[in-house]
């Protein structure tokens, strides 16, 4: 019987005391093994040192860190325009009515179990997601040339697609727009791709640097992967026109550049699901191949449920099937199979025409509220005579506005006015309400006139 030793007594015991205690306990143990077999190596656990002692604290995530700072602020007038999560006019998060209904239906269905999903997720969800983004009559779907796998929201879909590309595609470089969502470079780098950028945003016009975009994509090596924001570019809100998309498509096809679409805002940008999918559908109609990462975080308000899908459009059905089998090999050692709850809600809504219609109405209401906030902010700045051209606020689209404020001005607004945004001047319009627009307008006015 092994003698009992008291474990380190108080929380104030130093790590040295702990090491000493551990040493004492070990030496006093009536071991069944000869003591000479024990190796007193310098790296031995006797010292109680962790092999991870050298790990340093990582910096806060620049986007999620904004909310952390906001939460710490005691000011009653504080405003969180950081992370892109929709808020109501009352500043509250929103769970869509259709989502509540779908949840109730699932709850009441006693036959539902919580078993493992297949590696690729819910088949119905996958099918309906493909239809949603490509259009139910899409030739790619009709010809079984699309494989769709359920993933953890947009992030997870991007990561799985990128890992597949790193293993199976001949080109390991992905071109991402300048700027882009902060997490994009890390997703692709950790997946094993190397990341380059192409010009996208023009700070002088606060619009698209179309010239630069065409030049940079035009000089990319043949076959390179190109990340495209399907609509409502994050963080700038600047989207190509349809004509510009057509030019981009032609250029990319002529250089065999592989499109990888990130679709995080379908329905949220214009308020219309089909309109927001136009860019992607162009690239499918021409018979070529592409990757699409879909997220239901914003357009169904399912943020924390992590619901998304990765679709790969191939030129032939048997190829799509092989691709799917390889996607499973990426997924299995990452999380085995995707979470069931959120995708069940989505499938319930998408397959029921009444729920689907209700959803489109709620979606349009969210998009309309954001468009109205844009207009109100623009009007408020004009009314104050704030120097500068602020028309980009109403020209940009989607959840975010790239204000054009510099980091000093942003810092001023946070310090003096308790308004929180990412340091690149990106504000989430979803975080605004009619009540708070004046406060923001005043703050921008102050920042622009007092800090340059």
């Amino acid at each position: 019987m092994r003698p009992e030793f008291t474990s380190p007594s108080s929380s104030s015991s130093s790590s040295a005391d702990r090491r000493l205690n551990a040493l004492v306990r070990h030496l006093a143990t009536p071991s069944m093994v000869s003591q000479t077999a024990v190796a007193f190596s310098p790296t031995s656990g006797f010292h109680g040192d962790s092999v991870f002692s050298h790990v340093v604290r990582a910096p806060e995530d620049p986007i999620l860190g904004v909310t952390v700072a906001y939460n710490k602020d005691p000011s009653p007038v504080k405003l969180n325009l950081g992370v892109g999560a929709y808020r109501t006019e009352e500043g509250k998060p929103l769970v869509l009515n259709v989502v509540r209904k779908a949840e109730q239906m699932l709850l009441n269905d006693k036959s539902r179990v919580k078993e493992y999903l297949p590696i690729v997720g819910i088949a119905e969800f996958n099918k309906l997601s493909a239809q949603l983004i490509f259009g139910a009559d899409s030739p790619a779907i009709r010809e079984n040339r699309v494989t769709t796998v359920q993933c953890l929201s947009g992030t997870g879909s991007l990561r799985v697609g990128a890992e597949f590309l790193a293993r199976h595609y001949h080109q390991k470089t992905i071109y991402i727009p300048q700027p882009t969502w902060g997490n994009h470079p890390k997703v692709f780098t950790l997946a094993g791709l190397s990341v380059k950028t192409y010009r996208y945003y023009d700070p002088t016009t606060r619009g698209l640097n179309f010239q630069g975009l065409l030049e940079d994509l035009g000089s990319a090596p043949s076959g390179s992967i190109v990340l495209l924001h399907a609509c409502a570019h994050n963080p700038t809100g600047v989207d190509p026109t349809l004509q510009q998309w057509e030019q981009i498509r032609q250029l990319m096809r002529s250089k065999a550049l592989l499109p990888f679409f990130d679709s995080a805002y379908q329905g949220f940008a214009s308020g219309n699901l089909d309109e927001d999918a136009q860019s992607i559908r162009m690239f499918v109609t021409d018979g070529g191949e592409c990757f699409v990462a879909q997220s239901y975080a914003k357009n169904m308000g399912l943020y924390g449920e992590r619901v998304g899908a990765l679709s790969v459009v191939c030129t032939a059905a048997d190829v799509a099937s092989k691709v799917e089998s390889q996607l499973k090999l990426v997924i299995r050692p990452m999380f085995s199979n995707p979470p069931i709850h959120g995708a069940s809600i989505v499938a319930t809504i998408l397959k029921d025409s009444n729920l689907f219609n209700e959803w489109t109405i709620e979606l349009k209401a969210m998009a309309d509220r954001i468009i109205s906030m844009r207009k109100q902010l623009f009007d408020a700045l004009r009314a104050r005579g704030t120097p500068g051209d602020w028309s980009h606020i109403i020209k940009q689209i989607g959840m975010f506005t790239f204000t054009g404020l510099n980091s000093k001005q942003v810092e001023f607004m946070t310090r003096e006015c308790h308004i929180y945004m990412t340091s690149d001047g990106r504000i989430s319009m979803a975080g605004l309400s009619s009540k708070t627009v004046p406060h923001l307008a005043d703050a921008i006015h102050a920042a622009v006139t007092r800090m340059t």
């Binding site: 092994r2 380190p8 929380s11 790590s15 090491r19 070990h26 071991s31 093994v33 077999a37 190796a39 031995s44 656990g45 006797f46 962790s50 092999v51 991870f52 002692s53 604290r57 998060p93 769970v95 989502v99 949840e103 179990v113 919580k114 493992y116 999903l117 590696i119 953890l152 929201s153 992030t155 997870g156 595609y169 997490n183 890390k186 997703v187 780098t189 030019q247 096809r253 021409d286 018979g287 070529g288 191949e289 975080a297 943020y303 924390g304 449920e305 992590r306 030129t315 190829v319 092989k322 390889q326 499973k328 090999l329 299995r332 050692p333 990452m334 999380f335 979470p339 709850h341 959120g342």
Partner: protein, 422 residues
């Protein structure tokens, strides 16, 4: 400008040709991947039309009617949370509440280590996700290290550390002749591994063999791992499910903690709360002090962010609702014991039936082994006969999921096993 227009005109003319050129896929050379050995068994089972078919393949619990089970405590928790909260993003590290409760299960309800905030912990995508996060973390911060994996182990362990690009070695574990633990060889492997190697240990209810070290054997394993300065990483996917008592099932971990190891743990609620498809789990790493725990946690989050940003909320809410309510927690513990007891009962019944049939072989290991799986000792050829002649489905390594055995099919199963082994 004119040049560009002319060029784009030429590109437009070429569109039809360009489109035709793209009839050849970039993915033509992609090979079809082999089917997953475990999940493929269920697929085959589902396709079988025989009324006698038995699925003892995948490790998902079934009741005595062979039906999947949603625990009552889970149903109640879901009722409470439905329509209640929003679905906002969790922090990158997941639900703080869920993680807190989960650590208590592994480290002890009143653990000093928890009070001292020495544990870096994040919510993870069930056991798979926790192991993968740890493997990625190991690769990033101990890039020259390798992982020692027991033979045999859950097949996906190899995939996980491979995809994390951590070199793997194996250590002796299962002893086929005795259908028990190859203890001496295991200790030898621990002693012979280079100092500071990482060892993957199954905390309880080893998958696929069901063979666990005894308490004395765990103490020796701890001693030798410590002597070599190895890192002990525990995969605990069956806490509560092995003996019916979560505290008892955490014994190996507690021994290591007493001995002062800085361990890592992957915990899963897939089986013990029946939350399989919700993907709820936790990865924890015990550190020297609070400061280091903060640093390690932040780095784990840096690995999670480019993989899935933040973990799913629903399953975590179920877990924290149950574990933070004393009555629901009590109910959970009762339901876990029922599941574990049913399995222990089926082990007794299967062994009893085989012995009654006058089998020439020893079937002691069926009741010696613990947890969801029984490593029957059947050869692949015998397994194939079971499938082809008797419509009994299991993985070809002879692993039987005892959760698939019922009072309704145990005789049939015993008969079939006897037929192919007599």
């Amino acid at each position: 400008m004119a040049i560009r227009r002319a060029m784009s005109g030429r590109i437009m003319d070429r569109t039809a040709v360009v489109g035709a050129r793209y009839m050849s896929s970039w993915w033509r050379s992609v090979q079809p991947a082999p089917k997953d050995p475990i999940l493929g068994v269920t697929e085959a089972f589902l396709a079988d039309q025989s009324p006698d078919k038995v699925n003892v393949g995948v490790g998902a619990y079934r009741d005595d009617n062979g039906k999947p089970v949603v625990l009552e405590c889970v149903r109640e928790a879901e009722r409470r949370i439905a329509g209640n909260l929003n679905m906002e993003y969790l922090p990158m590290g997941g639900s703080v509440k869920m993680v807190e409760e989960t650590l208590k299960l592994a480290y002890g309800e009143n653990s000093e280590l928890i009070k001292e905030k020495r544990i870096a912990a994040v919510q993870a995508l069930s056991g798979t996700g926790a192991c993968r996060l740890f493997a990625d973390f190991q690769k990033r911060f101990c890039p020259d290290s390798q992982i020692y994996i027991p033979v045999p182990t859950w097949a996906n362990h190899h995939n996980i550390w491979r995809d994390a690009q951590v070199p793997q070695k194996t250590y002796h574990y299962y002893h086929p002749e005795s259908k028990g633990l190859d203890f001496a060889a295991m200790i030898d492997d621990i002693k012979n591994a280079p100092n500071g190697s990482f060892f993957l240990l199954h905390a309880c209810a080893h998958n696929p063999t069901g063979v666990d070290p005894s308490e004395e054997q765990w103490r020796e394993i701890s001693h030798h791992i410590k002597a070599k300065g190895h890192f002990a990483f525990f995969d605990m996917a069956y806490q509560g499910f092995a003996s019916g008592d979560p505290e008892k099932d955490a014994k190996a971990i507690r021994i290591f903690l007493e001995d002062g190891h800085h361990i890592g743990i992957s915990q899963s609620y897939a089986k013990n709360m029946g939350l399989y498809g919700q993907r709820v789990g936790c990865l924890s790493v015990l550190c020297e002090d609070e400061k280091q725990a903060v640093a390690v946690k932040s780095q784990l989050q840096q690995l999670a962010r480019p993989m899935y940003s933040n973990p799913p909320v629903h399953g975590a809410l179920i877990v924290s609702t149950i574990l933070s309510d004393p009555d629901l927690k009590k109910q959970w513990l009762k339901e876990v014991k029922v599941m574990a007891d049913r399995i222990i009962g089926m082990r007794t019944a299967l062994r009893g039936n085989l012995e009654k049939l006058g089998s020439p072989l020893s079937w002691q290991h069926i009741t010696n082994q613990i947890g969801m799986f029984c490593y029957s000792g059947l050869t692949p050829e015998q397994v194939d006969r079971l499938t082809n002649e008797f419509h009994i489905y299991m993985t070809r390594n002879g692993r039987i999921s005892m959760a698939g055995v019922t009072t309704g099919n145990v005789k049939y199963l015993a008969n079939a096993i006897h037929e192919v082994t007599k």
